[in-house]
Structure formats: structure tokens, C-alpha cells
Symmetry: D2
């Protein structure tokens, strides 16, 4: 039986709600075809976030790792294409760190592509009726930080990994100023993504065009 | 037992899906506290749309009428504040009508305010966790046309009426370009709106500030 | 020689810059074909704003009145179609007034259409290469308040009047979060609007379809 | 005397207007403090675009290279942070090429950071009153292609290079649907960017935090 590790950020600041956290609570008990799901709660702090996911990878020995975070303002589930080697925090993380234009790994390459089949995931999630689109920027805050750090750790591994941004929950912006997605649909979309990542074979190095 | 009539547009053009139509299918069998729901399917054509709702009002003798239509691009359920006396169709309706700057009622006033308690509805829907916001323009297409026509018909009546715009369904834009709302949440929001409209008393002529 | 009165709001809050105010400073000395421009600075306060424009109308006896205000977030010059009889201020005006859902004129009609040839203006401004679009809502703050109040005062007059919203100036949002328009282009657009309004004949009551 | 090479794309498809092309026509005859400007017109085709800029670099031997392209929908001048090693063309280029998820340089790294002082440029352009913001994605079309290709060519050089996206011109969307910037302001912003890039010293490898 294969394993998928899905890592979601814990609450940020004094906001009691985080869609990634709510999603992993519901995903914890779920099964995929030919794989089981493990989850991991990630602190919204710079280095601790990477260390937490690395520990969970070592504990669970998954075949696929999905790291998940909130992108307020987006209408769709967005598998990220690329992680870049820079921290440029517009606001401070949960421990008050606010690095400006500091490399995440000082001798690391400028970027890593996702090793998830991001196009196959996008196609499958869309076919099931949920908004989904490839994104070309995970930003420069903790989401990109975690994405880059885990990808760097896995750079010589066969474990596939990528970051998926998810929208705000409806109750997070009842004013209607920003788009939202229901928790049920976020969970469904993440399950489809995990299933595709487990099932897809072949060279997915650049994460992309081939639909398996 | 009071009655709420909820009127939703039928399919438009060759798009097989219309969130208002899907919503009234689910609302048809539902009960509110102290009221029952009647529904009505409205053709997406100029005068027929008004006539259809007037016939349903005469048949059902409701206490409250909600007319409902799609506003692609909006993130929230949006009770409309005002209907204006003009047809200015950017595209043709289902019968090929495309009036440009023609009054809906030739001797009618320039506008009618909604007689729904739009602020109370908005507050209650938001409190329940669903995005909702008052809108100040129902556009100049069939939605505003129906809103104005029904309000004109009810101008000397005690029946409360207003138009509520709803977002696209997720499956209507899987590319994620536009915001969407799940059908479950749209239905829930419309039920709350209907309940508030049935329950609220007092002078709601300008549709507004008082929260009942 | 005909006369056009162009009224722009004074500075708001502690923001030293207001595009309408900057525009009327430049428009003050300008000539149109067959008409001269008079300008008027309007305080950002509820009733004083209307009184100020009425005084200027009585002093200058113009043939056309353009009232002008800022709509942050818009990309185009937007002639407004309709003024509605309600004050619903999201924030306070310069004197601390913040009415919520109060009629502007207690026995006034729900709305007045602009008496400017808004479609002809839009077409001509676009032909000259400047972004322009009819808007169906002037909001519910001081802009709509002034629009409604002046239209109510002129309801039995032959003087044409309408409100035109203009975008932010580039220096008002250097972060690039919101769209902007250069002062030169705003001034040029307003001059074209004034020229069209002076030149157009015929029934423009609903402000609209006929291109003169 | 130092030299700045500014390269702008030629017209695309059957659109006779390209803001980058118009900008370099005006920039051609201009001087900076301590530097002169050279310009270069770039075909909107995959490999030819890179070859054209490389030839211009060899001919002019500049100290700084700015490659410039249109980003419709943006409100600001946006210096790009990073070029990624992938062509994923949503539409075909001027020669009908439409690669999907193909590396630009088959053995190249996943990405290169801009070697321009993008934060110093952004700060200086904003101080002068023009909207400007760092962007974290140059997309996956010809703009990113050119950015990556030139950065790869210059990877062991002391010549600074980066890509700057500019908004639509006002006359390119008179409907007001998308934000625009006047040509005068685009040219002014590019001149400030060139001046800052010429003047800044120090380690700008990651393109970023230091303000010189």
C-alpha cells in the first residue's frame, strides 16, 4: 500500500481558521485507491515548517508529499509549478521573522520545479467540476519557503513533492470581497490531486505537459 | 402559513446549467419556519419573464417574492438595492431581443427600490458564514428587467419583492478565472434570505438600514 | 457663447490629492468649441456639496453641468447613468456625517437618470483613445449624493447634468494595486465629455442610446 | 560613457500597437546621467527573440540590458524577479510555435534570478510617482522565454540584465476593462529603471533587498 503525506499549515496570527488545517483534519481518516493518507500539521514559522515536514517524511516514508497553504484572493485550487530560493516576507511569520530577500538555502539553486504531475492533476480536478489552475508563483512567504525547503531536501529522492495553494473558506470572507471555496470542495480537490500523483508514472520532472 | 415565491431563470443560450434554476429545483420541496416555499421557472426573454412571475404571483398569492439570477464574476450572494427603468442588453436574450436604452415601462419612474429587508438579509446570511453583500446595480439586462417589471406590478401591493444575484457554480468555471459558490451554499443563502424576509416587520420601503 | 460648469470635489480626509480637484484647476482656463468652461470646487460634505453646486449654477447660468468625483479601482472615465435617493456612507464625510440608508430628498423619487448623452460621450472619448465606459452605479456616498441632489434641483430645468467618475492618479497608488489614469488623460476625457454634451441635441432624457 | 541596451518586442499578431515597441522608439534618442541608451526591436518568436538580443549585446557591448514586454491586466511597471526554464505557450508566437512544457535550455537550471536591482528600481520609480511593483512571475510565454534565454547567455558575465513588464497603453483598451498606463509614464519609468541599474553597485545577485 502506497502512502501520501499531506501537510497543511497550522493557524496563522490570531485567525482561528485555516483552510489547509481544516482540510487535513478531514483527510486524515480517508483512503485513496491503492494508497492511504497521512497528514501533518505545519507551524507557520520559517525553518520549523521545513523541519516538521522532513520529520514527517522520515516517520511515514511516503511516496508522494503534498504541501498545502492558503492563497487568499484565488478562485481555484492551484498546483504550483516552481519554488524559488528567496524569502521576502511582506508580513512576519508566527515567530516574528520577517526576512527580506534572503536565500532559503544559501548555496541552493535559484529554483526547483514541482515534481508533481501538475497538468494531470489540474485536468482531473477540472473534469470533476472543481476550479483548478496551474500557478507560476507560490509567492515569497512561508508557502514558497516550505515548498523550496522540502523540494531541496528531496532533490535526490524518488519521492514526488509539490505545493498546492487553496482558496479562502466562505466563512473567512463573508463580505464577498474575495473569492472562496467550500471546505468540501477543497478536500475533494486535494484527494483527486493525491490520487493522480500516486497513479501517474513516467518522467514528471518538469511537472507538466504529459497527461497520464 | 405564509408563502415565499422564489423565481429563478431557466437556462440561457446553450449553457445547460443555471445556478438559479438548480437552486429552485432544490428549494421546491423545502420548508421555512412559518412559511412554505413555492418556486417558478422564468424564461430568459424580455416581457415573458415578467409575465411568468406575475402569473405565479396570482396563482400562489405569496407574502414575499424573491427573483433570482446569475451574476458571473461576483463572489457573494448579492441582494440588489434598486431596479432601473431601462433595457440596455449587451447581448440578446433567448428570443433574440436586444433593446438598447429602451424604458421597460414607458411611463414608469426611473427606478424602484427593493422592498426586501436587504441589510437584514445580508447580516443574517453573513452570520451564518456565507459571503453576502448588498449590490447597488442589477445591470441593464434581463435580471434588472425582471426586477423592475415585478416591482412595478407590485408597486401598490403589500407583497415584498426584491432581486438577488448569485455567483457562478464551481463547475461553470473550472479554469478558476472567476469566483464561484457551491450550490449547497447558494441554496442555504437563499433560504436564509427568504426566512428573514418573511420574519421581518416594519417599514422596509427603502430596503435598508433597519435590522429586524 | 454657451457655458459648461464642471464641479469637482475638494480634498478628502487627509489625502492632499484629488484627481477631480486637479482636473478643474487645469480646466478653468480652457475653451471648447462654442462654449467656455467654468469650474467649481465642492466640499466633501453632505448637504454643503449640493448647495455649493446650486450656488454656482445660479451664478454662472450654465447650459451643461458636469459633476466629477473619484472612483478608486476603476480603469476608465465612467459617465454615470443613474442617481439613487439614498445615503449609505461606508465612511464619514469631511464633517463626520455617516448616514446609513437615509433618503437624500425625503419626498423625492427613488432615482433620476443622467440627462447627459452618456453613450455619445463614451463613444467619442473612446474614439480619441481614452478608456471610457458607462457605469450603472455611482455608489451611495457623497458622489451619488451630489449627483442626486443636483439632478433633483434641475428636474424641471433645461440644463443638462450628469456625474462622471474618474480613476485614481498614478501618484495616488504607486504600489500598482489599483488602476490609474494620468491627469492629462483625465482632463482630455472631461473636455471631450463637455464638448459632446454642449453639441448634442435631441431627446437625451434617458441619457443613452442615441449617438448625436 | 556607459551603455544601456533596452530591448522591446515588435508587434504581436495583427495588433499594430505594442507598448514596448512604442517605448523604445522614444527611448532611442535619449540620454541618462553617465550613460547612453541603445535600443533593439525583438521578434515575437521563440528562438529568434533570444538570438536578436544576443546579437545586439555583442554589437553594443552594454553594461546593462533591460528586456521589456507587455503584461496586459497589470496596473504597474513590474520588474520581474525570476525567469524559469520552461516554455508553456497558451497561444502561438508570431511563427506559429506553441511549445507545451518544454525546457528553454535543455540542460539549464530551473531558473535564474534577475541581476537588476529590482527593489531599488521599484523604490525609485514609485518615489517619482509612477506605479511600480516587483513581480514574481514573468509567465511562461515569449517574455519569460527571452528573459531566461538572455540570462542564461549572460550567466558568467558582468552585464546586468532583467525583464520588465509594462501595462497596456490607454488606446489598447478603451473599454476600460483592463488597467492601462500612458506611454509618457511608461517611458519615464523605464528611464528611471535604466538609470538606477547603471548607478547601483554592489552584489545584486538575488536582485533584491539592498537599496543602493
Amino acid at each position: 500500500m502506497k502512502k501520501v503525506l499531506i501537510a497543511g499549515f497550522d493557524v496563522f496570527g490570531d485567525n482561528p481558521l485555516n483552510p489547509g488545517l481544516e482540510a487535513i483534519k478531514l483527510l486524515e481518516s480517508q483512503q485513496l485507491e491503492g494508497a492511504e493518507i497521512r497528514v501533518c500539521k505545519v507551524p507557520v514559522t520559517r525553518y520549523e515548517s521545513i523541519d516538521t515536514v522532513i520529520s514527517a517524511i522520515e516517520a511515514h516514508k511516503p511516496d508522494v508529499v503534498l504541501t498545502v497553504g492558503l492563497a487568499a484572493g484565488r478562485s481555484a485550487i492551484t498546483p504550483e509549478r516552481v519554488a524559488i530560493n528567496i524569502d521576502d516576507f511582506r508580513i512576519a511569520d508566527n515567530k516574528g521573522n520577517q526576512p527580506i530577500d534572503v536565500p532559503i538555502v544559501s548555496d541552493g539553486p535559484d529554483a526547483y520545479f514541482s515534481t508533481l504531475p501538475i497538468k494531470a492533476i489540474t485536468q482531473r480536478v477540472q473534469e470533476r467540476g472543481f476550479p483548478c489552475q496551474v500557478s507560476n508563483s507560490a509567492g515569497t512567504f512561508v508557502c514558497n519557503h516550505l515548498f523550496y525547503g522540502v523540494q531541496h531536501y528531496l532533490r535526490n529522492s524518488h519521492i514526488k513533492h509539490g505545493f498546492i495553494h487553496i482558496p479562502l473558506l466562505p466563512e473567512q470572507d463573508v463580505s464577498g470581497t474575495q473569492p472562496t471555496m467550500s471546505l468540501e470542495n477543497i478536500v475533494e480537490g486535494l484527494k483527486i490531486a493525491a490520487q493522480v500523483a500516486i497513479t501517474c508514472d513516467g518522467d514528471m520532472k518538469i511537472g507538466a505537459g504529459k497527461i497520464c
